[in-house]
Protein backbone atom coordinates (compact mmCIF):
# COMPACT_ATOMS: atom_id res chain seq x y z
CA UNK A 1 0.00 0.00 0.00
CA UNK A 2 1.32 3.44 -0.92
CA UNK A 3 1.94 6.20 1.55
CA UNK A 4 -0.77 8.78 2.05
CA UNK A 5 0.01 12.12 0.45
CA UNK A 6 -0.50 15.41 2.26
CA UNK A 7 0.47 18.98 1.52
CA UNK A 8 3.60 20.07 3.43
CA UNK A 9 2.00 23.54 3.50
CA UNK A 10 -1.77 23.00 3.52
CA UNK A 11 -3.67 25.54 1.45
CA UNK A 12 -0.63 26.75 -0.51
CA UNK A 13 -1.26 24.58 -3.60
CA UNK A 14 -3.75 22.12 -5.07
CA UNK A 15 -3.17 18.37 -4.89
CA UNK A 16 -4.86 17.45 -8.18
CA UNK A 17 -3.35 16.04 -11.38
CA UNK A 18 -2.58 19.50 -12.76
CA UNK A 19 -1.32 21.10 -9.58
CA UNK A 20 -1.17 24.86 -9.20
CA UNK A 21 -0.27 27.33 -6.51
CA UNK A 22 -3.20 28.89 -4.70
CA UNK A 23 -2.97 32.65 -4.50
CA UNK A 24 -5.24 35.62 -4.04
CA UNK A 25 -6.33 38.38 -6.36
CA UNK A 26 -7.62 41.79 -5.37
CA UNK A 27 -11.00 42.23 -7.02
CA UNK A 28 -10.47 46.01 -7.14
CA UNK A 29 -6.98 46.47 -8.65
CA UNK A 30 -6.18 42.97 -9.88
CA UNK A 31 -2.97 42.53 -7.86
CA UNK A 32 -2.06 38.91 -7.16
CA UNK A 33 -0.65 37.48 -3.94
CA UNK A 34 1.20 34.33 -3.01
CA UNK A 35 0.69 32.84 -0.50
CA UNK A 36 -3.01 33.50 0.02
CA UNK A 37 -4.01 36.80 1.54
CA UNK A 38 -7.51 37.10 2.90
CA UNK A 39 -7.81 40.85 3.33
CA UNK A 40 -6.12 44.22 2.82
CA UNK A 41 -4.61 44.63 -0.63
CA UNK A 42 -1.04 45.87 -0.17
CA UNK A 43 -1.04 48.11 -3.22
CA UNK A 44 -0.93 51.49 -1.41
CA UNK A 45 -3.02 53.03 -4.19
CA UNK A 46 -5.75 50.45 -3.55
CA UNK A 47 -5.98 49.14 0.01
CA UNK A 48 -9.34 47.43 -0.60
CA UNK A 49 -10.33 44.40 1.45
CA UNK A 50 -11.96 42.17 -1.14
CA UNK A 51 -9.51 39.45 -2.12
CA UNK A 52 -10.54 36.24 -3.88
CA UNK A 53 -8.69 32.93 -3.95
CA UNK A 54 -7.40 32.08 -7.42
CA UNK A 55 -5.18 29.45 -9.03
CA UNK A 56 -1.86 30.86 -10.25
CA UNK A 57 -0.25 30.08 -13.59
CA UNK A 58 1.38 26.65 -13.73
CA UNK A 59 4.18 27.75 -16.03
CA UNK A 60 6.57 30.66 -16.23
CA UNK A 61 10.02 31.82 -17.31
CA UNK A 62 13.10 31.04 -15.24
CA UNK A 63 14.16 34.37 -13.65
CA UNK A 64 17.19 32.83 -12.00
CA UNK A 65 18.37 29.68 -10.27
CA UNK A 66 20.85 28.36 -7.74
CA UNK A 67 21.28 25.29 -5.56
CA UNK A 68 21.71 24.19 -1.96
CA UNK A 69 25.03 22.34 -1.73
CA UNK A 70 24.96 22.22 2.06
CA UNK A 71 22.20 20.93 4.29
CA UNK A 72 19.93 23.82 5.34
CA UNK A 73 19.12 24.24 9.04
CA UNK A 74 15.81 23.24 10.65
CA UNK A 75 12.91 23.39 10.09
CA UNK A 76 14.19 21.86 6.83
CA UNK A 77 13.83 18.08 7.09
CA UNK A 78 16.88 16.58 5.44
CA UNK A 79 17.15 13.07 4.03
CA UNK A 80 20.03 10.87 5.22
CA UNK A 81 22.38 11.41 3.52
CA UNK A 82 21.63 14.96 2.41
CA UNK A 83 21.17 15.32 -1.34
CA UNK A 84 21.90 18.78 -2.84
CA UNK A 85 18.99 20.27 -4.78
CA UNK A 86 18.48 23.11 -7.24
CA UNK A 87 16.24 26.10 -6.55
CA UNK A 88 14.41 28.21 -9.12
CA UNK A 89 12.78 31.65 -9.20
CA UNK A 90 10.12 31.60 -11.89
CA UNK A 91 8.37 34.64 -13.39
CA UNK A 92 4.65 34.15 -13.90
CA UNK A 93 3.84 36.33 -16.89
CA UNK A 94 0.14 36.81 -16.28
CA UNK A 95 0.50 37.58 -12.56
CA UNK A 96 3.69 39.63 -13.12
CA UNK A 97 5.30 38.07 -10.08
CA UNK A 98 8.23 35.74 -9.39
CA UNK A 99 7.83 32.63 -7.23
CA UNK A 100 10.58 30.57 -5.61
CA UNK A 101 10.64 26.83 -5.24
CA UNK A 102 12.86 23.81 -5.34
CA UNK A 103 13.62 22.29 -8.72
CA UNK A 104 12.50 18.67 -9.20
CA UNK A 105 14.96 16.03 -8.08
CA UNK A 106 17.36 14.85 -10.75
CA UNK A 107 17.71 18.27 -12.40
CA UNK A 108 20.83 20.24 -11.49
CA UNK A 109 21.96 23.77 -12.31
CA UNK A 110 23.83 22.54 -15.38
CA UNK A 111 20.48 21.81 -17.02
CA UNK A 112 19.00 25.24 -16.30
CA UNK A 113 19.35 28.60 -18.04
CA UNK A 114 17.78 31.99 -17.37
CA UNK A 115 14.68 32.49 -19.51
CA UNK A 116 13.69 28.85 -20.05
CA UNK A 117 10.10 27.74 -19.50
CA UNK A 118 9.37 25.95 -16.23
CA UNK A 119 6.25 24.17 -15.04
CA UNK A 120 4.96 23.37 -11.59
CA UNK A 121 4.76 19.79 -10.32
CA UNK A 122 4.42 18.17 -6.90
CA UNK A 123 7.11 16.09 -5.26
CA UNK A 124 7.79 14.96 -1.69
CA UNK A 125 9.51 17.55 0.51
CA UNK A 126 10.00 14.89 3.20
CA UNK A 127 8.38 11.62 4.23
CA UNK A 128 8.01 9.25 7.14
CA UNK A 129 6.83 5.59 7.17
CA UNK A 130 3.19 6.44 6.53
CA UNK A 131 3.05 9.84 4.88
CA UNK A 132 4.62 11.79 2.06
CA UNK A 133 4.53 15.55 2.58
CA UNK A 134 4.32 17.14 -0.87
CA UNK A 135 5.55 20.51 -2.02
CA UNK A 136 5.53 22.37 -5.33
CA UNK A 137 8.68 22.17 -7.41
CA UNK A 138 9.71 23.63 -10.75
CA UNK A 139 10.57 21.42 -13.72
CA UNK A 140 12.04 22.51 -17.05
CA UNK A 141 9.50 21.99 -19.84
Amino acid sequence: MGKSKVAALPGWFSLDGEPHLIGSRCTACGTYYFPVRTTACRNPACGKDDLEQVPLSRTGKLWSFTDACYQPPEPFVAPEPFVPFAIAAVELEHERMTVLGQVVSGVDVGQLRVGMTMELVLEPLFADEATESLIWKWRPV
Binding site: C29, A68, C69, P75, R96, M97, V109
Partner: protein
Protein backbone atom coordinates in the same frame (compact mmCIF):
# COMPACT_ATOMS: atom_id res chain seq x y z
CA UNK B 1 17.36 73.92 7.68
CA UNK B 2 20.64 72.30 8.62
CA UNK B 3 20.21 68.58 9.10
CA UNK B 4 23.84 67.67 9.70
CA UNK B 5 25.35 66.28 12.88
CA UNK B 6 28.99 65.77 13.79
CA UNK B 7 30.79 62.48 14.34
CA UNK B 8 33.01 63.22 17.32
CA UNK B 9 34.23 59.73 17.99
CA UNK B 10 34.22 56.23 16.53
CA UNK B 11 35.26 52.90 18.01
CA UNK B 12 35.06 49.19 17.42
CA UNK B 13 35.73 45.88 19.05
CA UNK B 14 37.56 43.77 16.45
CA UNK B 15 35.35 41.33 14.54
CA UNK B 16 35.91 37.62 15.17
CA UNK B 17 34.58 34.66 17.09
CA UNK B 18 35.67 35.50 20.57
CA UNK B 19 33.14 33.51 22.57
CA UNK B 20 32.27 36.42 24.86
CA UNK B 21 29.05 38.16 25.81
CA UNK B 22 27.98 40.88 23.36
CA UNK B 23 28.00 43.44 26.18
CA UNK B 24 31.76 43.06 26.59
CA UNK B 25 32.29 43.85 22.91
CA UNK B 26 29.99 46.85 23.16
CA UNK B 27 31.85 48.23 26.15
CA UNK B 28 35.16 48.10 24.29
CA UNK B 29 33.66 49.90 21.28
CA UNK B 30 31.88 52.52 23.42
CA UNK B 31 34.99 53.32 25.44
CA UNK B 32 37.04 53.59 22.25
CA UNK B 33 34.48 55.98 20.74
CA UNK B 34 34.36 58.08 23.93
CA UNK B 35 38.16 58.29 24.04
CA UNK B 36 38.26 59.17 20.35
CA UNK B 37 35.70 61.94 20.96
CA UNK B 38 37.54 63.17 24.03
CA UNK B 39 34.41 63.31 26.14
CA UNK B 40 33.39 61.80 29.45
CA UNK B 41 30.67 59.13 29.47
CA UNK B 42 28.64 61.33 31.83
CA UNK B 43 28.37 63.98 29.10
CA UNK B 44 26.37 61.58 26.90
CA UNK B 45 22.69 62.53 27.08
CA UNK B 46 21.21 59.85 24.86
CA UNK B 47 22.13 56.22 24.31
CA UNK B 48 20.80 54.76 21.09
CA UNK B 49 21.35 51.01 20.86
CA UNK B 50 20.90 48.63 17.96
CA UNK B 51 19.24 45.45 19.21
CA UNK B 52 20.52 41.92 18.82
CA UNK B 53 17.91 39.16 18.72
CA UNK B 54 20.34 36.38 19.53
CA UNK B 55 21.42 37.36 23.02
CA UNK B 56 18.21 37.22 25.04
CA UNK B 57 16.48 40.10 26.80
CA UNK B 58 19.62 42.22 27.27
CA UNK B 59 19.92 42.21 23.48
CA UNK B 60 16.32 43.36 22.97
CA UNK B 61 17.01 46.36 25.19
CA UNK B 62 20.56 46.93 23.96
CA UNK B 63 20.49 50.70 24.57
CA UNK B 64 19.72 50.24 28.25
CA UNK B 65 22.08 47.27 28.51
CA UNK B 66 25.03 49.37 27.36
CA UNK B 67 23.94 52.36 29.45
CA UNK B 68 23.96 50.14 32.52
CA UNK B 69 27.25 48.50 31.60
CA UNK B 70 28.89 51.92 31.29
CA UNK B 71 27.26 52.98 34.58
CA UNK B 72 23.72 54.39 34.78
CA UNK B 73 24.05 58.16 34.64
CA UNK B 74 20.50 59.24 33.83
CA UNK B 75 20.78 59.53 30.04
CA UNK B 76 17.77 59.02 27.81
CA UNK B 77 17.74 55.65 26.13
CA UNK B 78 16.40 53.96 23.00
CA UNK B 79 16.76 50.63 21.22
CA UNK B 80 16.17 50.09 17.51
CA UNK B 81 15.68 46.87 15.63
CA UNK B 82 15.71 46.89 11.84
CA UNK B 83 17.67 43.79 10.81
CA UNK B 84 20.83 44.85 8.92
CA UNK B 85 19.78 48.50 9.17
CA UNK B 86 19.48 48.45 12.98
CA UNK B 87 22.61 50.55 13.45
CA UNK B 88 21.40 53.17 10.98
CA UNK B 89 18.00 53.31 12.64
CA UNK B 90 19.71 53.85 15.98
CA UNK B 91 21.81 56.58 14.35
CA UNK B 92 18.67 58.17 12.87
CA UNK B 93 17.08 58.21 16.35
CA UNK B 94 20.13 60.01 17.72
CA UNK B 95 20.08 62.52 14.87
CA UNK B 96 16.41 63.31 15.51
CA UNK B 97 17.07 63.95 19.20
CA UNK B 98 20.04 66.16 18.37
CA UNK B 99 18.35 68.15 15.61
CA UNK B 100 15.22 68.68 17.72
CA UNK B 101 17.40 70.05 20.51
CA UNK B 102 16.45 67.31 22.97
CA UNK B 103 20.09 66.39 23.41
CA UNK B 104 23.51 67.51 22.22
CA UNK B 105 25.61 64.38 22.51
CA UNK B 106 24.61 60.78 21.87
CA UNK B 107 26.22 57.35 21.94
CA UNK B 108 25.09 55.08 19.11
CA UNK B 109 26.10 51.48 19.59
CA UNK B 110 25.57 47.95 18.29
CA UNK B 111 27.18 44.64 19.22
CA UNK B 112 26.50 41.00 18.51
CA UNK B 113 27.51 37.45 19.25
CA UNK B 114 26.59 35.15 16.38
CA UNK B 115 26.14 31.41 16.07
CA UNK B 116 28.18 29.26 13.68
CA UNK B 117 26.91 28.44 10.19
CA UNK B 118 23.69 29.53 8.50
CA UNK B 119 21.58 32.16 10.22
CA UNK B 120 18.51 30.08 11.14
CA UNK B 121 14.97 31.10 12.11
CA UNK B 122 13.64 31.03 15.64
CA UNK B 123 12.41 27.64 16.86
CA UNK B 124 8.83 26.39 16.78
CA UNK B 125 6.27 25.39 14.16
CA UNK B 126 5.26 28.67 12.52
CA UNK B 127 3.81 28.26 9.00
CA UNK B 128 2.48 31.85 9.16
CA UNK B 129 6.04 33.20 9.38
CA UNK B 130 7.61 33.53 5.92
CA UNK B 131 11.04 33.17 7.49
CA UNK B 132 10.03 29.76 8.88
CA UNK B 133 8.43 28.64 5.63
CA UNK B 134 11.42 29.39 3.45
CA UNK B 135 13.77 27.45 5.73
CA UNK B 136 11.22 24.59 5.68
CA UNK B 137 11.74 24.56 1.90
CA UNK B 138 15.52 24.64 2.31
CA UNK B 139 15.89 28.25 1.19
CA UNK B 140 18.70 29.92 3.13
CA UNK B 141 20.22 33.38 2.82
CA UNK B 142 22.86 32.14 0.34
CA UNK B 143 19.98 30.93 -1.87
CA UNK B 144 18.98 34.54 -2.52
CA UNK B 145 22.61 35.59 -3.08
CA UNK B 146 22.98 32.73 -5.56
CA UNK B 147 19.82 33.78 -7.41
CA UNK B 148 20.98 37.40 -7.70
CA UNK B 149 24.42 36.29 -8.88
CA UNK B 150 23.07 33.90 -11.51
CA UNK B 151 20.66 36.57 -12.70
CA UNK B 152 23.65 38.87 -13.36
CA UNK B 153 25.33 36.09 -15.34
CA UNK B 154 22.18 35.43 -17.35
CA UNK B 155 21.36 39.08 -18.03
CA UNK B 156 24.73 40.86 -18.23
CA UNK B 157 27.24 38.12 -18.91
CA UNK B 158 29.05 38.46 -15.58
CA UNK B 159 31.31 35.53 -14.77
CA UNK B 160 32.34 33.71 -11.61
CA UNK B 161 35.78 35.27 -12.18
CA UNK B 162 34.21 38.73 -11.90
CA UNK B 163 32.73 37.75 -8.56
CA UNK B 164 36.04 36.26 -7.40
CA UNK B 165 37.77 39.55 -8.26
CA UNK B 166 35.56 41.30 -5.69
CA UNK B 167 36.77 38.87 -3.03
CA UNK B 168 40.41 39.30 -4.03
CA UNK B 169 40.00 43.09 -3.94
CA UNK B 170 38.29 43.18 -0.55
CA UNK B 171 40.77 40.74 0.96
CA UNK B 172 43.58 43.06 -0.15
CA UNK B 173 41.78 46.06 1.33
CA UNK B 174 41.17 44.46 4.72
CA UNK B 175 44.64 42.94 5.06
CA UNK B 176 45.93 45.78 7.26
CA UNK B 177 42.68 46.61 9.02
CA UNK B 178 43.12 45.84 12.74
CA UNK B 179 39.35 45.45 13.20
CA UNK B 180 38.89 42.91 10.39
CA UNK B 181 38.45 39.24 11.25
CA UNK B 182 39.93 37.73 8.09
CA UNK B 183 43.27 39.30 7.25
CA UNK B 184 44.65 37.15 4.51
CA UNK B 185 45.21 37.88 0.85
CA UNK B 186 43.53 35.50 -1.56
CA UNK B 187 44.13 34.71 -5.21
CA UNK B 188 41.57 33.97 -7.89
CA UNK B 189 42.64 30.32 -7.61
CA UNK B 190 41.92 30.32 -3.85
CA UNK B 191 38.38 31.48 -4.51
CA UNK B 192 37.88 28.99 -7.34
CA UNK B 193 39.12 26.16 -5.10
CA UNK B 194 36.65 26.90 -2.28
CA UNK B 195 33.53 24.74 -1.96
CA UNK B 196 30.39 25.57 -3.92
CA UNK B 197 27.63 26.75 -1.56
CA UNK B 198 24.86 28.23 -3.71
CA UNK B 199 25.84 28.00 -7.36
CA UNK B 200 27.43 30.13 -8.81
CA UNK B 201 28.70 31.28 -5.41
CA UNK B 202 31.42 29.52 -3.49
CA UNK B 203 32.26 29.65 0.19
CA UNK B 204 34.66 32.55 -0.42
CA UNK B 205 32.01 34.52 -2.30
CA UNK B 206 29.71 34.55 0.73
CA UNK B 207 30.31 36.42 3.97
CA UNK B 208 30.49 34.71 7.34
CA UNK B 209 28.78 35.79 10.56
CA UNK B 210 30.92 37.32 13.26
CA UNK B 211 31.02 38.76 16.74
CA UNK B 212 31.80 42.45 16.80
CA UNK B 213 30.83 45.88 18.06
CA UNK B 214 30.85 49.42 16.72
CA UNK B 215 30.04 52.71 18.40
CA UNK B 216 29.77 56.37 17.45
CA UNK B 217 29.68 59.53 19.52
CA UNK B 218 27.61 62.06 17.58
CA UNK B 219 26.70 65.61 18.50
CA UNK B 220 25.18 68.83 17.30
CA UNK B 221 27.49 70.99 15.16
CA UNK B 222 27.28 73.62 17.86
CA UNK B 223 28.51 71.23 20.54
CA UNK B 224 31.30 70.08 18.22
CA UNK B 225 32.46 73.69 17.77
CA UNK B 226 32.35 74.41 21.51
CA UNK B 227 34.29 71.20 22.05
CA UNK B 228 37.00 72.38 19.66
CA UNK B 229 35.91 69.94 17.00
CA UNK B 230 34.28 72.23 14.45
CA UNK B 231 36.18 70.31 11.77
CA UNK B 232 34.66 66.94 12.70
CA UNK B 233 33.29 64.89 9.82
CA UNK B 234 29.53 65.14 9.46
CA UNK B 235 26.60 62.92 8.75
CA UNK B 236 24.85 64.53 5.78
CA UNK B 237 22.12 61.95 5.20
CA UNK B 238 20.55 58.86 6.74
CA UNK B 239 18.12 56.99 4.50
CA UNK B 240 16.07 54.22 6.07
CA UNK B 241 13.15 54.16 3.61
CA UNK B 242 10.93 51.13 3.12
CA UNK B 243 10.48 49.49 -0.24
CA UNK B 244 7.77 50.82 -2.55
CA UNK B 245 5.11 48.40 -3.77
CA UNK B 246 5.53 46.43 -6.02
CA UNK B 247 8.88 44.79 -5.26
CA UNK B 248 10.85 43.98 -8.38
CA UNK B 249 13.32 41.53 -6.83
CA UNK B 250 12.75 38.52 -4.59
CA UNK B 251 13.83 39.56 -1.12
CA UNK B 252 14.67 37.52 1.93
CA UNK B 253 12.63 35.89 3.43
CA UNK B 254 9.85 35.98 0.80
CA UNK B 255 8.93 33.15 -1.54
CA UNK B 256 7.35 35.49 -4.08
CA UNK B 257 7.72 39.07 -5.25
CA UNK B 258 4.78 41.43 -5.24
CA UNK B 259 2.65 41.28 -8.36
CA UNK B 260 3.24 44.23 -10.68
CA UNK B 261 -0.15 43.88 -12.40
CA UNK B 262 -1.60 47.13 -11.07
CA UNK B 263 1.49 49.28 -10.46
CA UNK B 264 5.07 49.30 -11.72
CA UNK B 265 7.74 47.29 -9.96
CA UNK B 266 10.35 49.14 -7.88
CA UNK B 267 13.85 48.14 -6.90
CA UNK B 268 14.36 48.60 -3.16
CA UNK B 269 18.15 48.57 -3.25
CA UNK B 270 18.24 51.62 -5.53
CA UNK B 271 15.68 53.53 -3.48
CA UNK B 272 17.92 53.52 -0.39
CA UNK B 273 20.87 55.55 -1.76
CA UNK B 274 18.57 57.66 -3.95
CA UNK B 275 16.93 59.06 -0.82
CA UNK B 276 20.34 59.61 0.79
CA UNK B 277 21.61 61.53 -2.26
CA UNK B 278 18.49 63.70 -2.22
CA UNK B 279 18.82 64.41 1.48
CA UNK B 280 22.51 65.37 1.20
CA UNK B 281 21.94 67.34 -1.99
CA UNK B 282 24.71 65.49 -3.80
CA UNK B 283 24.92 62.85 -6.51
CA UNK B 284 26.91 59.69 -7.16
CA UNK B 285 29.51 61.74 -9.04
CA UNK B 286 30.43 63.43 -5.73
CA UNK B 287 31.27 60.19 -3.93
CA UNK B 288 34.93 59.40 -3.19
CA UNK B 289 34.53 56.18 -1.22
CA UNK B 290 31.77 53.68 -0.43
CA UNK B 291 31.18 50.94 2.10
CA UNK B 292 28.56 48.54 0.76
CA UNK B 293 27.01 45.35 2.07
CA UNK B 294 28.89 42.60 0.26
CA UNK B 295 26.91 39.73 1.74
CA UNK B 296 28.15 38.11 -1.44
CA UNK B 297 30.75 39.17 -3.98
CA UNK B 298 28.09 39.44 -6.70
CA UNK B 299 25.89 41.57 -4.47
CA UNK B 300 28.67 44.16 -4.26
CA UNK B 301 28.33 44.51 -8.04
CA UNK B 302 24.56 45.02 -7.71
CA UNK B 303 25.29 47.83 -5.26
CA UNK B 304 27.56 49.66 -7.76
CA UNK B 305 24.53 49.97 -10.01
CA UNK B 306 22.04 50.74 -7.24
CA UNK B 307 24.39 53.48 -6.01
CA UNK B 308 24.46 54.77 -9.63
CA UNK B 309 28.23 54.38 -9.93
CA UNK B 310 27.56 52.93 -13.39
CA UNK B 311 24.59 52.05 -15.59
CA UNK B 312 22.74 48.81 -14.89
CA UNK B 313 24.69 45.80 -16.12
CA UNK B 314 28.11 47.47 -16.21
CA UNK B 315 29.34 46.85 -12.65
CA UNK B 316 31.64 43.98 -13.57
CA UNK B 317 33.57 46.39 -15.78
CA UNK B 318 34.31 48.60 -12.75
CA UNK B 319 35.88 45.74 -10.85
CA UNK B 320 37.70 44.41 -13.94
CA UNK B 321 39.20 47.87 -14.59
CA UNK B 322 40.20 48.38 -10.97
CA UNK B 323 37.98 51.45 -10.52
CA UNK B 324 36.72 50.23 -7.14
CA UNK B 325 39.99 49.07 -5.62
CA UNK B 326 42.26 51.25 -3.50
CA UNK B 327 44.08 53.56 -5.88
CA UNK B 328 41.15 53.46 -8.32
CA UNK B 329 38.78 56.33 -8.99
CA UNK B 330 36.11 55.15 -6.55
CA UNK B 331 37.28 52.60 -3.98
CA UNK B 332 34.53 50.40 -2.55
CA UNK B 333 34.89 48.63 0.78
CA UNK B 334 38.34 49.92 1.71
CA UNK B 335 37.73 48.36 5.15
CA UNK B 336 37.68 44.95 3.51
CA UNK B 337 33.90 44.86 3.73
CA UNK B 338 31.91 41.92 4.94
CA UNK B 339 34.36 39.69 3.08
CA UNK B 340 36.96 40.52 5.74
CA UNK B 341 34.63 41.21 8.65
CA UNK B 342 31.76 38.74 8.47
CA UNK B 343 28.38 40.09 9.42
CA UNK B 344 27.66 41.20 12.99
CA UNK B 345 24.14 42.41 12.24
CA UNK B 346 23.45 45.25 14.71
CA UNK B 347 27.04 46.52 14.54
CA UNK B 348 27.58 46.32 10.81
CA UNK B 349 25.84 49.47 9.57
CA UNK B 350 27.68 51.43 12.28
CA UNK B 351 30.99 49.81 11.34
CA UNK B 352 30.44 51.13 7.81
CA UNK B 353 30.04 54.66 9.19
CA UNK B 354 33.12 54.23 11.43
CA UNK B 355 35.18 53.32 8.37
CA UNK B 356 33.96 56.36 6.44
CA UNK B 357 34.81 58.59 9.42
CA UNK B 358 38.37 57.22 9.49
CA UNK B 359 38.67 57.57 5.71
CA UNK B 360 37.48 61.18 5.69
CA UNK B 361 39.77 62.08 8.57
CA UNK B 362 42.69 60.57 6.65
CA UNK B 363 43.22 58.14 9.51
CA UNK B 364 42.72 54.81 7.72
CA UNK B 365 46.35 53.71 7.84
CA UNK B 366 47.20 51.04 5.28
CA UNK B 367 43.90 51.39 3.43
CA UNK B 368 43.51 55.15 3.03
CA UNK B 369 41.51 56.54 0.10
CA UNK B 370 43.59 59.65 -0.63
CA UNK B 371 41.73 62.94 -0.42
CA UNK B 372 38.34 61.39 0.34
CA UNK B 373 35.77 64.06 1.21
CA UNK B 374 32.43 62.29 0.68
CA UNK B 375 31.54 58.72 1.53
CA UNK B 376 28.37 56.67 1.31
CA UNK B 377 27.25 53.42 2.94
CA UNK B 378 24.59 51.02 1.72
CA UNK B 379 23.07 47.94 3.23
CA UNK B 380 19.96 45.86 3.03
CA UNK B 381 18.48 43.12 5.15
CA UNK B 382 15.33 41.19 5.89
CA UNK B 383 11.72 42.37 5.95
CA UNK B 384 12.12 45.60 3.99
CA UNK B 385 14.97 47.02 6.03
CA UNK B 386 17.95 48.81 4.60
CA UNK B 387 19.90 52.00 4.93
CA UNK B 388 22.29 54.38 3.28
CA UNK B 389 24.32 56.97 5.17
CA UNK B 390 26.35 59.82 3.68
CA UNK B 391 29.35 61.15 5.59
CA UNK B 392 31.22 64.22 4.45
CA UNK B 393 34.07 66.46 5.46
Amino acid sequence: MNTEIAILGVGMHPWGKWGKNFVEYGLVAARAALADAGIDWRQVQFVSGAATIRCGYPGYVAGATFAQALGWQGAQVNTSYAACASGSQALAAARSKILSGECEVALVIGADTTPKGFLAPQKGDRPDDPDWVRFRLGITNPTYFGLYARRRMGLYGDTQEDFAQVKVKNANHGFDNPNARYRKRFTMDDVAASAMVANPLRLMDICATSDGAAALIVSSLDFARRHGRGDAVRIAAISTVTPTFASEILEMPDLATDSAVAVDAHRFRSALPRKAYEEAGIGPEDVDVAEVYDLSTALELDWYEDLQFCPRGEAARLVREGVTRLGGRLPVNPSGGLACFGEAVPAQALAQVCELAWQLRGAAAGRQVEGARVGITANQGLFGHGSSVIVKK
